[in-house]
Symmetry: C2
Subunit: 414 residues, 2 copies
């Protein structure tokens, strides 16, 4: 018997994630924090830079002492010292007519408010220098606190840390960073026809592809994958494996059972788990219709389509956004949407959103890339290898004409 | 004295990388291969799938037995067995008029060439079934080798493995994967004003930001970062540290010294290393002009600008492409170029390429995103935190008018 599907829209599916909340937090060392998600706003404990610094090699001056000077009428100033790197410039106090040598990054002398580049100076003797160009107050200077004032929020909660963000934390002396814990995802493949990748399949058997693919997708999305392995296709085994997997995981992905019998088992298992709530059974997308979502407390269980191409679409559309939510990010796809031009006519059916695997051909001119659909049965792997992303066709559309502009969700890649 | 710069163009700089060749290879387990770069073509050791499989639950048939059937004149066929999952369908041989139950993913019975969906059948009794719709040969079937023929190149050398690629390897039983070794990058910060991030700076001192930022950039680009730390700013210390760093690394990044004195030391050190060749000293870009590149055998040494914003631009424009080359990928930026519209007038100087940090504002309509320049001295960190990428202005351009379309290189993000 075909299972009875209550199809919901993809946006309704995403709204179900309101029932889940972000996981707890942990503290990691600065060097391990890139790519992690901030669990709290980072407020500057001090101003940055801590003192006014020169951005040039040259001379720290009182800007007014240079006003009106020129090539023909240079200002003649007295050198009263040199500010060595890593020493306090404040130890030198400039009086009118005085100037101090300074290097890039050095602290300005007391009473100085600008830096003259060495290029616009000429040494008369060890103590006297001619300046050819006037500087305005603040010129060639980064003033104390110009980068960040003390108490200012420099990085907001929910931000995935990039190299430059980690640099800011280093600059502020934040060497322990509070981040969201990475969600742990248990991956179960069901199917009596499956053998692990390292085994030679016997007659009627094939290697389990979904476990490996889903594990890589989980890691790509910031999660920690726990490959439980292949589960025999009977209710009791699946129920026990699922119960076990739930113990140590925030999310369980059941996949591989693409026959109706296997799907029924998945549904039964998810329904029979204590305190489980079946949130969705079927979604109006193609591929990916027979997706199941259940909840046990704050843990999520997905029943994914058995075909790897379909499972991958469902992963990007739903599993990834929920992983992002668990991980403290915004509950969206986290895929870059770009505009592309349909390279040929692409048919679609009204009543469901279609996600078409496409290859993108970039032209050297300024136009959008051309999206070529990669057709192939959803049980095939090689079309996925060629694809750069998923072209989206609306629920109310009968398809795209060649030359039409459409949105393509790019697969992640670094 | 200001160092004398022989400025070369950015494309000439990239051409220097012809002097370097990809690193050696190593073998990793399938589960650790995602994100790694294939060191050799992967050829299918066997066909995939290994046998013709059903894509539906239903009945394996000889297609001709269904020709001409319809709702009003169903074909009456004899059920001769059921192909259980994971067993050989070939054990059942269909004779004309015979049919066998099959599940999704099951191996077709011998002599069958199509599958009738269960929805288009009606059981008369345990041994007899009515079929309402004809199927064509091959319908609802993935034939043996349809995904990959034996001996076919399925993944090419130089490919960075995505989740679906790893899935293909799993399907083919390739559980040990030969990949390029990840380049090891030693990172040295020079500057007497620097203290490590975990220390409180004294007067005139600031925390070392570049080491942490560059390490995260290296890891983001697929390399292994080795933070050597802060090096005292004198020739002997720098020379010894550089020699030491070269031992265990494929690349050395020297950064932090942004005063002319420090730059001179870097140049002297790179020139004095045994068998070193100075390949470039200055590049016609902004920021990033005072970039130095030297070579010792197949090892590269970069002298990076001291300001973190400039160092980051040079990293993305040059260090990253060389890391990609070392890692067996194409020698390009590996940054996604997109078209954007200048949100305001952006001035530039003729004679050098300009890389302007921009924030992208995406509109909901179909147009390109708007690029807003983020101004700020290159010694500042917070402008980098706001930036999404680098807008490119040609060497021959005086700038962009508001509303002009330009290329933006997106910072990586997953």
């Amino acid at each position: 018997m075909k299972g009875f599907f209550q199809l919901i829209s993809s946006s309704d599916f995403l709204n179900l994630f309101d029932r889940f909340h972000p996981l707890d937090t942990e503290t990691v060392q600065l060097g391990n924090s890139a790519g992690r998600v901030l669990a709290a706003d980072v407020t500057a404990p001090e101003q940055l830079p801590p003192f006014s610094r020169s951005t040039m090699d040259g001379f720290a001056v009182r800007a007014r002492d240079t006003f009106g000077c020129s090539e023909s009428e240079p200002a003649l100033l007295t050198i009263v010292g040199e500010i060595s790197m890593g020493t306090s410039g404040r130890d030198i106090v400039l009086r009118p007519g005085q100037i101090s040598r300074i290097w890039t990054g050095g602290e300005l002398a007391a009473k100085s408010d600008a830096v003259v580049m060495v290029e616009y100076s000429h040494l008369i003797d060890e103590e006297t220098v001619e300046i050819f160009r006037p500087v305005a107050p603040g010129e060639n200077v980064i003033r104390a606190g110009e980068d960040t004032e003390q108490g200012q929020v420099v990085l907001a909660k929910g931000r995935k840390l990039r190299p430059q963000d980690v640099g800011v934390l280093a600059g502020l002396g934040v060497t322990n960073v509070t981040v969201q814990r990475r969600p742990v995802v248990a991956i179960l493949s069901t199917g009596d026809e499956l053998v692990p990748p390292d085994q030679q399949p016997g007659p009627g058997q094939i290697r389990d592809i979904n476990s490996t693919t889903l594990a890589a997708l989980v890691e790509e999305s910031g999660g920690i994958a726990n490959q439980v392995g292949i589960i025999q296709d009977d209710f009791d085994t699946m129920f026990a494996a699922c119960l076990d997997a739930l113990e140590g995981a925030d999310m369980v992905l059941l996949s591989g059972g693409s026959s109706v019998g296997q799907r029924d088992f998945t549904l039964q298992v998810l329904e029979r788990l204590e305190d489980s709530e079946l949130l969705a059974h079927g979604v109006a997308i193609r591929p990916g219709k027979p997706t199941i979502l259940a909840r046990v407390g704050n843990k999520a269980l997905f029943g994914l389509p058995g075909h790897v191409a379909s499972a991958m679409v469902v992963f990007y559309l739903f599993v990834r956004p929920l992983l992002r939510r668990f991980g403290g990010m915004t509950t969206d796809l986290g895929l870059l949407p770009i505009q592309a031009i349909a390279g040929e006519q692409i048919p679609s059916a009204i009543g469901r959103e279609e996600y078409v695997r496409v290859q993108l051909i970039r032209k050297t001119d300024e136009s959008h890339p051309v999206a070529l659909p990669i057709y192939g049965k959803s049980g095939l792997l090689t079309p996925l290898v060629k694809a750069d992303g998923l072209l989206v066709i609306d629920r109310d559309s009968e398809g795209l004409d060649k030359g039409t502009t459409a949105q393509v969700l790019l697969f992640p890649s670094a």
